[in-house]
Every structure is written in C-alpha cells, then in structure tokens.
C-alpha cells in the first residue's frame, strides 16, 4: 500500500514515515500541503494521512483537493487539538482521525480499517 503523509512538523512526519516503512508500508512524506498536491500529481496513493492544522493549505482543504485529483484515495486525519471540531473531521466520508502523539499500532489499524471500508 502506498501512503502519503503530510504534517508541517518535519521531524514528526519523517520519523513516522520511516517507522511505517519498517512495517511494509510504501510511505512518502512532505511537510507542505502544496508539495503534497505536486506529489499526488506524479503518483497514485491508496491513502493520505493529513495533519489538520498546517500553515498555508490545511488538512481539511487539502483532503478536498486530493480527493478531486484521486477520488479513490482514502484519508486519515491527525490532530493535536482534541476538540469537538476535530471529532467532526472523522465524520467525513472515508475519513478517520487520530490524536497526536499517536501509537503506531493504532495508526496501522486505522490504515487497514480505512482501506477495507
């Protein structure tokens, strides 16, 4: 499975991508929503893991644009807020949310769940 990870905290997302790769995930990462759109233009992804709050293009808007480019792409949101607003993103079709800091096993389970939906 090919996964796109997007989070403006570069140290977080690069480490997460590497740990997912140890678990057999073809993980690609970027710290910018705009760069994520360029990456999606160049390759197909099964799923994207997006930080909700990012400078420039935020997670919610990024999801809309990625979905337009690749309708089959599934989404998981990462959030550091834990507020009711964040829970709402989990109600979007084919989307889940996870709170940071996260457990890699929980993310792997959400990835499997999301792709099997």
């Amino acid at each position: 499975m090919k996964v796109l990870l997007v989070d403006d905290e570069k140290e977080f997302v690069s480490a997460l991508a590497e740990r997912l790769s140890f678990r057999g995930v073809d993980a690609h990462w970027t710290a910018s929503g705009e760069e994520a759109l360029r990456m999606a233009k160049d390759g197909r992804y099964d799923l994207a893991v997006l930080d909700v709050k990012m400078p420039g293009l935020g997670g919610i808007e990024l999801r809309k644009r990625l979905h337009e480019m690749q309708p089959g792409m599934r989404f998981i949101f990462l959030t550091g807020h834990g507020s009711q607003e964040d829970f709402k993103v989990g109600s979007e079709e084919a989307s889940f949310y996870l709170a940071k800091p996260l457990k890699i096993e929980a993310l792997m389970e959400k990835i499997r769940e999301t792709l099997n939906r």
Partner: protein, 219 residues
C-alpha cells in the same frame, strides 16, 4: 459589576481558554515528535543490533539530539506559559514591555501558521504600570489581526520602544487592511488600559501609557 467589568470578565475567560488551547496544541506537537523520534531510535537500534540494518551511529546521534531540541522547545513553551499564567497574580503592576511581547510572541506562534514574526526587541524595554493580563489580551487581538492582514511576504514586524507617553508596540508589514481594527473587545481593552491604537499605512501602533488610568473599575 459594571458593564465593562462584565465584558472584561467574559473576555478574560475566553482569552485564557484560547491561550490554553494553543499551548496544549504546541505541547502535543512537541510530545508527538519526541514520541516518534524515540520510537524510531528504539526500532533502528533493534534492527541494527539484529544485523538487519547496517550500524549508523550518526543517524542515531541525530535522532537523540532531535529529542533534546524538542525538550528545549517544550521548556520554552512552558516557561512562557508560566509567565502568562502569572500575569493575573497582581492585577495592576509594573512590567517590561519587551518581556510581555516576548511571551506573547512565543505563545501566539500557534495562531501565526504560515506567517513569520520578525521581532525587533531590545534587551530591556520601557516599563509601564498596567494590567498585564489584559495587556496580553490586547496584544493577542492585535497580533491576530496583523497575522490575518500580513502582506505577500507573510512577515510581520514587531518592535517595542520607549515613547514620551510610556512605550510603543508596533506591528508592521500589513497589507491592505479590509476589516476594521480595533474590534469592539479590543477597543474596550484599549480604553481600560489607556492604550492608544493607531492604524496607518501598513502598521498598527499601540501606545501604552506609563501608568494605566486608575478610574475604571475592573470588578
């Protein structure tokens, strides 16, 4: 309680809530990086010990240093959070405007997504007698407005200097300002604090008096 006091009481709670949410979000990011980096370090060491990966001490060192940096980042947030929390200890007291601005700049980073604050702050600033908590709140409102109005370079200049009246905080680099400033609540805060707000040609200037007016009852 007067109308102004009621307004400020409600605004004070709302401000406290907004800042706590921002601080907790920043700390969650710090903990997320430490968690991910420490876990990666652990997994890399195991893979290298098992012979499944070539030893790479440089990488391990980079990752461990990253953890230390994030601890320092978290410490910085907490130190400034503590300063903010104590701004309510004594309602009216003397403060250094540079120190006030430094604390608010760190704590407001959460709201400045995509923009950069260029701080032009001397080591020591003008000292004024004011209500620190509500001055923080007014600065927060002004900074939020400046962030939203930042020009194409997305950089906001923040300068603090002494003035004949007391001290000045100037936010520059603003593009065409389409919304009006100050808002009603910012205007109330400015009135209570005796702060003069000037919006002009890409900047906002807050002139903080050496001593805030004593006649307004905050309740």
């Amino acid at each position: 309680m007067t109308g102004t006091a009621k307004t400020l009481a409600a605004e004070g709670l709302a401000f406290f809530g907004r800042m706590n949410a921002a601080i907790s979000h920043d700390m969650k990011n710090v903990l997320a990086i430490i968690n991910e980096t420490a876990s990666l370090l652990d997994e890399l060491m195991e893979l290298q010990q098992d012979g499944q990966m070539e030893p790479n001490p440089d990488k391990l060192r980079t990752l461990s240093r990253r953890i230390v940096q994030q601890v320092e980042r978290g410490q910085n947030v907490i130190t400034n959070m503590n300063a903010f929390a104590h701004s309510i200890d004594v309602p009216v007291r003397e403060v250094d405007l540079v120190r006030v601005m430094n604390v608010m700049a760190v704590l407001s980073r959460h709201f400045a997504t995509g923009k950069t604050l260029d701080l032009d702050l001397p080591n020591e600033g003008p000292r004024v007698t004011t209500h620190p908590f509500f001055l923080n709140d007014l600065i927060h409102h002004t900074l939020n407005f400046a962030i939203a109005a930042a020009g194409p370079g997305k950089r906001i200049g923040v300068a603090v200097k002494a003035s004949d009246e007391g001290g000045e905080i100037v936010f520059s680099g603003l593009a065409k300002i389409e919304r009006t400033f100050p808002s009603e609540i910012a205007a109330t805060l400015a009135q209570v604090l005796g702060v003069e707000i000037v919006v002009d040609a890409g900047l906002i200037r807050l002139t903080v008096p050496a001593k805030m007016p004593a006649e307004i009852e905050l309740g």
